[in-house]
């Protein structure tokens, strides 16, 4: 973020961040590629690399070529696990620390004063994985032929639109392209670094144009010949992939900019493994001019069952993995088999701020419940009536820390009040607060009554897949009994859970809260902005997203936060951005809408002991799709 800001302030200074041109560098390549060059199947490495390849300084040492790295995928919908390793090779990426945006496919960029124009410089001579040149035309293909084509995107994609107006682009020359927005878009560079913002450089024009009516007038013949495809857009997505779908990894013919490219063993529903091989045209080198990646083959076994996956891990069949192995319950088993399996732990700092956030429904349909929940002192009482240490000891095996929501202490946006207020266990004071709030009548069983004579009780569903929430809710039920508040909870299937929430039929919802390391990217707990996750006030979210035509008008403090958020999005100055967000956090802290139980516990992943250049610790997040920003293309196996 600092990086963007410096650019915005000085306006129009081209930056070559981590990349310095190493003109006199001798390049070398993997032995398997040398063989192909000698056999005449590939041009020499100098011709395959761009004129100015990105030079990566490995965190430990320059590596050696070879080997296969093994990971595991779930049965379906786990395509993003591939993305997390191969990387969203977008125009820009996060630095390994998750604190700044750095160049990637684009070697530099400029932002104009009011953050409406973004000019990107691409790497000269860079090539797709099939050897065809990658130029500004490929980027223009996305903007002109897809983004601005209503048959492809009937509604404007939020990421590439401001005030409903889609992004426009202009080709300056073969390596320079300028994006223009209808209004200021101060957070665009951050957006571009997130994993799903890769569209500008995911579609190779020379390949994908055959599925586009502008370039192939006979595209309808292809559509007719393809089963289950009804129009060219569906055909295009099927053959050329989408950013967020398994079919991105299902077509070996589709050229990419990734370090490894999918082979005939692609990700389809029948696949039991997905095999990717090195991209001979990959555009990064190490400090000695060795073309990356070091590892030849990237192999994903498909394992539907977590216990089977655990077996694979302890058998030493997994070289680097966190997803689905980071459960607290699995840790002892994994630890016990470390020596036999030849692996060790690496640490991950979750980007989430709280593992279990309770969203009391501020917009409850029952007026008496709503009045009670909207009373801040009632929420305070409910919060201090929870003995968080007990929950952490029992449910979280002692790993955790009493916490509400908001950025972690190491983050510049840390707000102590937001994170720690009302986390002390004090049932006596809770009782006093509830009595003072007018909930002093009790029924025969000792439970408090609402003014309408009904019991002050919460009927709660939780997503049954997350059993720890069910366990914690049981403990909370006992703890709240002491202050005369009733909770009944039951686990339900996830989409039922969602439907209830979206219909605003819940008393409260339980979910993890993002925003520990990424507060500005996921502000859904400090503001009602997320239609599927700001559970504490879904109707307010609707009001905000519809511009006031749907939902329910939120109170002034929420509207104030919306104003600050709009200003934040429009400004390019990071100091000002931070100031605005700090204000949002302060208002959220004063309002105290969401109650948290424990800071998201540290996670661990397993890593082959021979694997090098893997940081000992890294953030774990979707916005920072670990481990991709630590550049797996620099990982290598130490010789035995």
């Amino acid at each position: 973020m600092k990086h963007v800001g410096r650019l915005a302030r000085t306006s129009a200074v081209a930056l070559l961040c981590s990349t310095t041109a190493l003109f006199a560098m001798d390049f070398s390549e993997a032995p398997m590629l040398t063989e192909m060059v000698e056999a005449g199947q590939l041009p020499p490495v100098e011709e395959r690399l761009p004129a100015n390849p990105e030079v990566i300084t490995p965190i430990e040492s320059v590596g050696v070529y070879g080997g296969t790295i093994r990971r595991a995928l779930g049965g379906s919908n786990d395509h993003n696990s591939i993305l997390r390793f191969v990387g969203p090779q977008g125009l820009v990426r996060w630095n390994p620390e998750f604190t700044a945006v750095v160049p990637n496919v684009a070697e530099a960029w400029e932002v104009n004063e009011d953050a409406t124009e973004f000019t990107f410089t691409l790497r000269e001579g860079m090539k797709w994985s099939d050897g065809e040149p990658f130029t500004a035309d490929d980027v223009m293909f996305f903007v002109e032929d897809l983004l601005n084509n209503e048959e492809f995107y009937p509604n404007a994609p939020a990421r590439f639109a401001i005030e409903g107006e889609r992004m426009q682009a202009e080709k300056i020359d073969d390596t320079t392209v300028r994006f223009t927005f209808a209004g200021p878009y101060g957070t665009f560079m951050n957006e571009l670094a997130t994993p799903l913002a890769q569209e500008p450089v995911i579609w190779a024009k020379h390949y994908c144009q055959q599925f586009h009516p502008t370039y192939n007038p006979n595209v309808q013949d292809l559509v007719d010949a393809t089963e289950a495809v009804e129009d060219w857009a569906a055909l295009f997505r099927l053959r050329c992939g989408e950013v967020e779908a398994p079919n991105r990894w299902s077509n070996p013919d589709r050229p990419t900019l990734d370090p490894w490219v999918v082979t005939e063993q692609a990700y389809t529903a029948g696949a039991t493994q997905v095999v990717m091989e090195r991209n001979p045209y990959f555009w990064q080198v190490d400090t000695e001019g060795n073309q990356l990646p070091y590892i030849d083959v990237f192999n994903n076994i498909v394992s539907q069952d977590n216990q089977a996956l655990l077996l694979e891990a302890i058998a030493g069949n997994i070289d680097l993995q966190r997803r689905r192995l980071d459960g607290l319950a699995d840790r002892p088993v994994i630890a016990e088999n470390r020596d036999a399996g030849g692996y060790e732990f690496y640490n991950l700092t979750p980007s989430a701020s709280n593992d279990m956030a309770i969203h009391l429904n501020m917009t409850h349909k029952d007026p008496d419940m709503r009045a009670a929940i909207n009373d801040r002192s009632v929420r305070e009482a409910l919060s201090i009536a929870i003995d968080r240490e007990e929950i952490i000891d029992i449910v979280y095996q002692g790993v955790g820390e009493p916490w509400q929501i908001g950025a972690v202490p190491e983050h510049p946006l840390y707000n102590e009040q937001l994170g720690r207020q009302h986390t002390e266990y004090d049932p006596d004071r809770a009782n006093e607060l509830l009595d003072a709030a007018g909930l002093d009548q009790r029924d025969g069983e000792g439970f408090r009554l609402l003014p309408n004579g009904e019991r002050f009780a919460f009927n709660v569903n939780y997503s049954a897949e997350t059993t720890r929430w069910g366990d914690a809710l049981e403990i909370i039920r006992e703890q709240w009994q002491e202050i005369g508040v009733d909770v009944t909870s039951s686990g339900v299937e996830r989409s039922i859970y969602y439907s209830r929430g979206e219909a605003n039929e819940h008393d409260f919802m339980v979910w993890t809260a993002p925003g520990g390391l990424d507060p500005t990217l996921s502000p859904r707990n400090v503001m009602a902005v997320h239609p599927q996750a700001s559970w504490f006030a879904i109707p307010w979210t609707r009001w905000y997203l519809s511009g006031g035509t749907e939902g329910e008008e939120p109170p002034a403090s929420m509207q104030r936060r919306y104003e600050l958020f709009e200003e934040y999005k429009a400004t390019g100055d990071p100091a000002r951005q931070q100031e605005l967000f700090a204000q949002i956090h302060q208002i959220a802290a004063d309002e105290f809408e969401v109650i948290g139980i424990t800071k998201a516990p540290q996670m661990t992943g397993v890593k082959n002991t021979r694997l090098r250049n893997v940081p000992g610790a890294m953030p774990a997040s979707w916005m920072y799709p670990d481990p991709a920003p630590t550049l797996p293309q620099t990982y290598f196996f130490a010789p035995e």
């Binding site: 394992s303 996830r494 989409s495 993002p514």
Partner: protein
């Protein structure tokens, strides 16, 4: 006989339409649709899907249309051989189902053979040698097989494989053959992996069939026709095989039609644990994510195969059991 079969086949057509309608509506019955689950999955990794993107997808998938319209569009395409697009995989359904169905059929058939090969002789033995040591041993082993959950047995065998033999776990193929085109070598590789799931899936069915065989045969053994045959001097082996066993076979044959659906629905957990590329796990995930065209295709195919299986059972019963009439 031929007339009966033709009649049965003609009756199958409206029956299958009925099944398809009911199953489609059932798949649609839970609240929400594929997009709800999709949004939930994304939200779990803190990804925000904008309202525009949801609207785009809903339009693309035709989820904005009424249920019956969606059904008739689906069934209309199926009549033309097009099973539609899987939402979850964003691939044509037909790309996804055929190989899985073929492997499922193969596995069912192998399991059926295994079950029969084991249950049949043991069942006969423990009926003829009632209350002998051998009967007790076979019964004991059978009950263990029946009582142990299949997935647990699978996990135990996998654990032994991993810890003591260092083998890779699960699957039906070695890594080099997994996505390779079919060949003799791949087929042999399949056979070398098939025994594990066959044993795991076959044990419980074996146990119950042993019991059924034993009970049925015991009923028959005391019947007068057995005594008659014995009195006529038929050898004991031929006597048993030729008459009472033939009658006692009835349950074996009449359950052929159930083998497939029970394997697909009952063995899902086992198939997931063993990473078997069969229909069960894919169907389960399709149902969970409300991927209706994919789930619908499986339900329809399984129903069809069940109906065909029942027809086969009936024909075989007529051939095997003189007491059954087909009018």
């Amino acid at each position: 006989m031929l007339r009966y079969i033709v009649k049965r086949i003609i009756w199958m057509i409206p029956f299958l339409f009925g099944i398809s309608l009911v199953s489609f509506l059932l798949i649609q019955a839970p609240p929400g649709d594929y997009l709800t689950t999709y949004i939930a999955t994304l939200a779990e990794s803190n990804e925000v899907l904008s309202q525009e993107a949801i609207d785009n997808l809903r339009e693309r998938f035709g989820l904005d249309q009424p249920l019956l319209v969606q059904y008739f569009k689906w069934i209309g395409n199926i009549v033309q051989g097009d099973f539609g697009m899987s939402f979850e995989w964003r691939q044509p359904v037909s790309d996804l189902i055929w190989e899985r169905m073929a492997l499922t059929l193969l596995l069912s058939f192998a399991t059926l053979l295994f079950t029969w090969a084991v249950a049949f002789p043991i069942g006969v033995y423990s009926a003829v040698r009632k209350y002998s040591v051998g009967d007790y041993v076979a019964t004991f082993v059978g009950f263990i097989g029946l009582a142990t959950p299949n997935f647990l047995l699978a996990l135990i065998l996998m654990y032994i494989g991993v810890v003591y033999f260092g083998s890779s776990v699960g699957g039906l193929f070695s890594p080099e053959y997994q996505n390779a085109p079919w060949s003799m070598a791949k087929f042999l590789d399949l056979l070398s992996h098939l025994w594990l799931p066959v044993i795991v899936l076959g044990t419980s069915a074996t146990a119950s069939l042993i019991r059924i065989m034993r009970a049925n045969l015991l009923d028959e053994l005391d019947k007068p026709y057995v005594d008659t045959a014995r009195a006529k001097g038929l050898s004991e082996f031929w006597l048993i095989v030729k008459y009472p066993v033939r009658v006692a076979l009835n349950p074996f044959i009449s359950t052929i039609g159930w083998v497939l659906p029970s394997l697909v629905s009952g063995a899902v957990i086992t198939a997931i644990v063993l990473s078997l590329p069969t229909a069960g796990p894919l169907m389960l995930s399709a149902l969970k994510s409300q991927d209706m065209y994919l789930a619908g295709a499986f339900v329809l195919l399984l129903s069809s195969l069940t109906v065909v299986g029942m027809l086969l059972s009936d024909i075989l019963l007529v051939l095997m059991d003189p007491r059954v009439k087909y009018d």
